[in-house]
Point group: C2
Chain length 252, copies 2
DNA sequence: TTCGATTTGTTCGTATGTATT
DNA sequence: TAATACATACGAACAAATCGA
C-alpha cells in the first residue's frame, strides 16, 4: 500500500489525522482563499482524486464532511458546488424566527441608520478586534406580513467592508448574508445565538408597535466565516405577538 | 452483482430507496420494538452484514446515519451502542439553557406537584391523544447555583407511564428523560422548542424570585420517541437574570 | 428525440490500521 | 499475545441524473 510506505519511510507527518482529513483541510483552504467561489462547481471526484493522489473513496469522505457542514452541495449528474446563500438557504438554515403556526417568511427590511463608529469593549471582544477599532453600526427594522417584528442592530468590522454605503444596503435584493457573499466574497458558515427575554424600552417599543415594557426576545448573534473568523455581531429584539423562535434538539 | 439480478428478476421492490435505507429502517425497528435497549451493544458490523445479506460497507452507511442522528454511538475497538440518556448526554444535546458565560450545569429539581388530569384541546393535539384523554400534569422548579431559574410544567399521556407516583419522581437520580428510559424503556430522540418572551404572572414571579411582570422566556417543548410518537409537552418559564438560551446555526 | 459522455450515488470486495479486551 | 471491533483506504462495477451533440 502506497500510503503505508510513505508513512514509514518518507517524512513522518502526523499519523493521528487520517488522509481524508488532510484532503478536507486542503479543500477548505481553497474555499477560504477564494479559489472556489460560491455557486461554482468544484472539480469532479475522479479529477480531485488524481490531483491529490488518493482514491475517489477518500475524496468522497472529505467532501461528505463538508456537505454535512453545509459548505458544499452535491447534485447527482451535475457535480458538487460551493453553497450559495440563496433566499431559500438562508431561510432554512440561518433563520429560526417563525409564525405561531410554524410558517417562515422572508421579511421586508427598512434601513433605520448606518454609521461608522468605534467598537465598545464587548463588541471588540466578540469580533476579535482591537479596542475601539472602526466598525459599521447598522440598524434595520424587519417586517413580516406588513407588521414590524424584528429590530436588528448589527456591527461589522469596517475593514471587512470597504466603501460600504447606505444605498448599497437599501438597494440590495436578498438577505444580508447573501449581500456579503455577492459583494465581498464573504461567506457566513456558522452563527451562535444567545437568547434572553427583556422588557422593551420606549424607543424600541415604539418602533415595534408595542407598549413600553412589553416582553420581547433579545437575541445576541455572532456569525463566523470558514476559519471561525467573526463577521458580524447583532442584537435583535423580537416582538412575540405572532412570532417566536423555533429550535430543534436531537436528530437535527 | 447479486443485488442487481434480484432487482431485475425478483419482485420489483421500490427502486427509490437504496439498500442502506432499508437496513436503517430495520435497525430502527429493532430499537422501537425494544429488541435493543439503551446502553446495549448492537451486533458487530460483519455479523449484521451477514444477517441482512449485505456488505459491511452498506451496514456502515446505515449505522452511520443513525450515529449522525444521535441514536447510536460507535466506539473503536469496543462496538456500537444504543445511546444512553446519561447526564452528560442530556446536558449536551437536550439542554440549551446556559449561564451568561456559556457554562452548563445540571439543575437541582424540586417537585411542586403531580396530579392526574384530562388533556385540554391544545395538549391533546400536541400529544396526539383523544380530547380529554388522561394525562399526568407535573410541575417542577429547577434551580442552578441554588437559585430558582426554570419553572417547568410537563404533561405526559397517563397511558405511557402506568403506576407513576410522586415519590418515583422525587427519588429519581438523573434527568427526567433518563428516568423515562430507565423505568419505562421510553427513549426521547428529538424535541422541538418554540420560544417566546412573556411577562411573569404573580405566582410564577414569586416562584422564580422575580418582580411580577418581569420578562421571562417561555419555552413550549414537545418531545418525541423513535417514530415521532409524542412523549411529553412542556411549558417552561426561564428567569433570564443570569441565564439564557444558546442556539447554534449552520454547521451544527 | 435519442444517444453518449460526464458526474454523483450505491454496492460490493479486500486489505490494513488502531483501539479494546 | 491474540482475538475482536471499528476506522481508514483502495479498487471496481453499475445505477441514476444531467446535459449537450
Amino acid at each position: 500500500m502506497r500510503m503505508t510506505s510513505e508513512r514509514t519511510e518518507g517524512e513522518p507527518r502526523e499519523p493521528r489525522d487520517p488522509l481524508y482529513r488532510l484532503v478536507k483541510q486542503q479543500l477548505t483552504e481553497a474555499l477560504r482563499d477564494g479559489r472556489w467561489r460560491h455557486g461554482q462547481k468544484i472539480p469532479s471526484e475522479p479529477l480531485l482524486a488524481r490531483r491529490h493522489g488518493v482514491s475517489v473513496a477518500t475524496i468522497r469522505k472529505a467532501v461528505g464532511e463538508l456537505v454535512a457542514e453545509n459548505i458544499l452541495v452535491r447534485e447527482q449528474g451535475r457535480g458538487t458546488f460551493v453553497l450559495s446563500h440563496t433566499r431559500d438557504y438562508m431561510l432554512n438554515v440561518f433563520s429560526r424566527i417563525v409564525g405561531r403556526d410554524g410558517s417562515k417568511a422572508l421579511p421586508t427590511t427598512t434601513l433605520l441608520g448606518l454609521r461608522r463608529a468605534r467598537a465598545d469593549t464587548e463588541t471588540a471582544r466578540l469580533l476579535r478586534l482591537k479596542p475601539r477599532a472602526a466598525v459599521l453600526d447598522v440598524e434595520t427594522l424587519l417586517s413580516l406580513d406588513g407588521r414590524p417584528v424584528i429590530l436588528d442592530r448589527m456591527r461589522v468590522p469596517a475593514a471587512l467592508f470597504p466603501d460600504l454605503a447606505a444605498e448599497d444596503f437599501s438597494r440590495r435584493d436578498g438577505t444580508i448574508y447573501g449581500f456579503f457573499q455577492e459583494q465581498y466574497g464573504i461567506t457566513v458558515v456558522r452563527a451562535e445565538e444567545f437568547i434572553t427575554a427583556v422588557s422593551a424600552g420606549p424607543r424600541e417599543a415604539a418602533l415595534l408597535g408595542l407598549r413600553p415594557g412589553s416582553a420581547v426576545l433579545r437575541i445576541l448573534r455572532t456569525a463566523t466565516t470558514y476559519k471561525d473568523q467573526p463577521v458580524d455581531v447583532r442584537v435583535r429584539l423580537v416582538a412575540c405577538g405572532a412570532h417566536g423562535y423555533l429550535s430543534v434538539l436531537g436528530q437535527g
